[in-house]
Amino acid sequence: MRHDFLDKWSRLGSPIHRAPSALKLALALATVVASVVTPFPRWWVFVVIAVSLALVALMSRVPVPFLLRRLVLLEPFVGGIAVLSAFQPDGTRVALSIVVKSTLCLATMILLTNTTPFAEILGTFRQLHVPAVLITVLALMYRYLFVLIDEAERMQRARRSRTFTNERTHVWKSLAALVGQLFVRSTERAERIYAAMCARGWR
């Protein structure tokens, strides 16, 4: 199990990490709304948001190169839409506005996800009276995500060590068979989990 990479930094001990997750969710939403609502050329608002995000990032002790890499990784969709939007009257301004706003929002979300453990977010959901079924599904999903990724990786390794062709149709077929088998195994695992949950007195 080395699937820490999924949310490696979300469990550090910085003041930002220790802040209540409900507060962080609310602040993130407020930041996103503020940068969406602000009319574009009002630069000082964007500068204030950017500076406070940078401060939070430094205080959180999450490595800055990691945060920047995530940002670059998530930027292409924004870039595509910005290019499209440039082809209209006053397009450059709209495109610039899209890039500035989306980058700020992306940075906000990257900071939120890397300073808030998923389990705490689920706790907040519970306080907000999100339906119990949805929370159960989310909690089970988060718990078994790592198990299934592990399983998929083992199956892929086994396939690679048995096949010596790189032909595309073959790769597609065997990958699809792998996905199908993963579903079959998930179903069987779910049955065992249900039995185990009942045995432990699940409602």
Partner: protein, 321 residues
């Protein structure tokens, strides 16, 4: 297709959030009334499964690769209401664990991929698999439904972007629709291959409405007709509808400062737009989409014919170790 924050304005974000919330509530209500308790852990595992399946890269060409989206796969394997909940869980987790897809845009993303993607795809699947009710029919239906679901979701996404005034409909619709007509082919291939694999290993897990009767020629024609109808619905409607005018009006009423210019510049496909060539691009995309829909259906049929298991396989379950 995960829309990040900063692209959609508040109006679009809140409209889609309300739509998604009501659909999700309806789905949860149906589950509370009709879902056996033993299926709840399965939904959690299915969500983790979809998440994992989306991480597997299928090589396409020149170093690029595609991956599964899974709306139709989920709805065929679990039924529509559980599929909505499972897809929502996946999108929520992608947002709150990876920052993939925005927080304010969550409503829009859930609406496109979990509501429209699942319900649109499932409707197509149900109709076609009713006309072609055998194993091959299920695969044809799943293939065509995945393609439709992908394209439908991308059109909704384009509409939301245009509604927010970030890019004109005349540009964003052709761009999104064309790209996703291609992505949809990959999605259809993966979904069909996966369902065929599950059919071989555990036929009982796939929609158990199968019957042995082979489809007659007239049924095939009927299915083709349905495909054509879907083609019209998909592509001619956005083109023929009058909502760009409504959009202009809304833009004038709301006129967010700084966005007004952009909103006004949104071209109605036919009349009074400022940028030459855009209206015809919309029309061309609609026409291409119509032809594309027919081709996609034909491809779906061929693919399914190649994959359909010859006999109801009691087969070995250790196929893909």
């Amino acid at each position: 297709m995960h829309v990040p924050d900063g692209l959609l304005d508040l109006r679009t974000a809140s409209t889609t959030a309300v739509l998604s919330l009501s659909a999700l509530t309806a789905a949860l209500r149906r589950l509370r009334l009709g879902l056996p308790r033993r299926r709840i852990p399965l939904m959690g595992l299915a969500a983790a499964f979809l998440f994992t399946a989306q991480m597997l890269n299928f090589p396409v060409a020149g170093g690029t690769s595609g991956h599964l989206l899974g709306a139709v796969l989920a709805s065929v394997l679990l039924g529509p209401s559980p599929a909505i909940v499972v897809m929502t869980a996946v999108i929520l987790t992608q947002c709150l664990l990876f920052a993939d897809g925005g927080l304010l845009a969550l409503g829009a993303n859930v609406f496109n991929m979990a509501i429209v993607g699942v319900l649109g795809g499932y409707a197509v699947y149900k109709v076609i698999s009713r006309v072609l009710p055998d194993r091959r029919g299920i695969l044809v239906a799943a293939a065509f439904a995945s393609w439709c679901s992908t394209v439908l979701a991308s059109i909704c996404c384009a509409a939301e972007l245009a509604w927010s005034g970030v890019a004109p409909w005349g540009l964003v619709f052709p761009a999104m629709a064309t790209v996703h007509m291609l992505i949809g082919i990959g999605e259809a291939a993966i979904t069909t291959l996966v369902i065929a694999a599950i059919m071989k290993a555990r036929p009982d897990l796939v929609d158990p409405t199968t019957s042995a009767a082979p489809p007659s020629a007239s049924r095939f024609v009927a299915a083709y007709g349905l495909a054509a109808t879907f083609g019209v619905l998909l592509f001619a409607l956005p083109f023929a509808s009058s909502w760009p005018d409504g959009l202009e009006r809304v833009g004038e009423v709301l006129g967010f400062a700084g966005r007004t210019a952009a909103v006004r510049a949104l071209p109605a496909p036919m009349a009074e737009y400022q940028l030459p060539g855009l209206g015809s691009a919309t029309a061309a995309t609609s026409a291409a989409g119509f032809v594309g829909t027919l081709i996609a259906f034909a491809l779906a049929y061929v693919l399914a014919a190649a994959l359909a298991p010859k006999a109801p396989a009691e087969g070995p379950r250790d196929r893909a170790a």
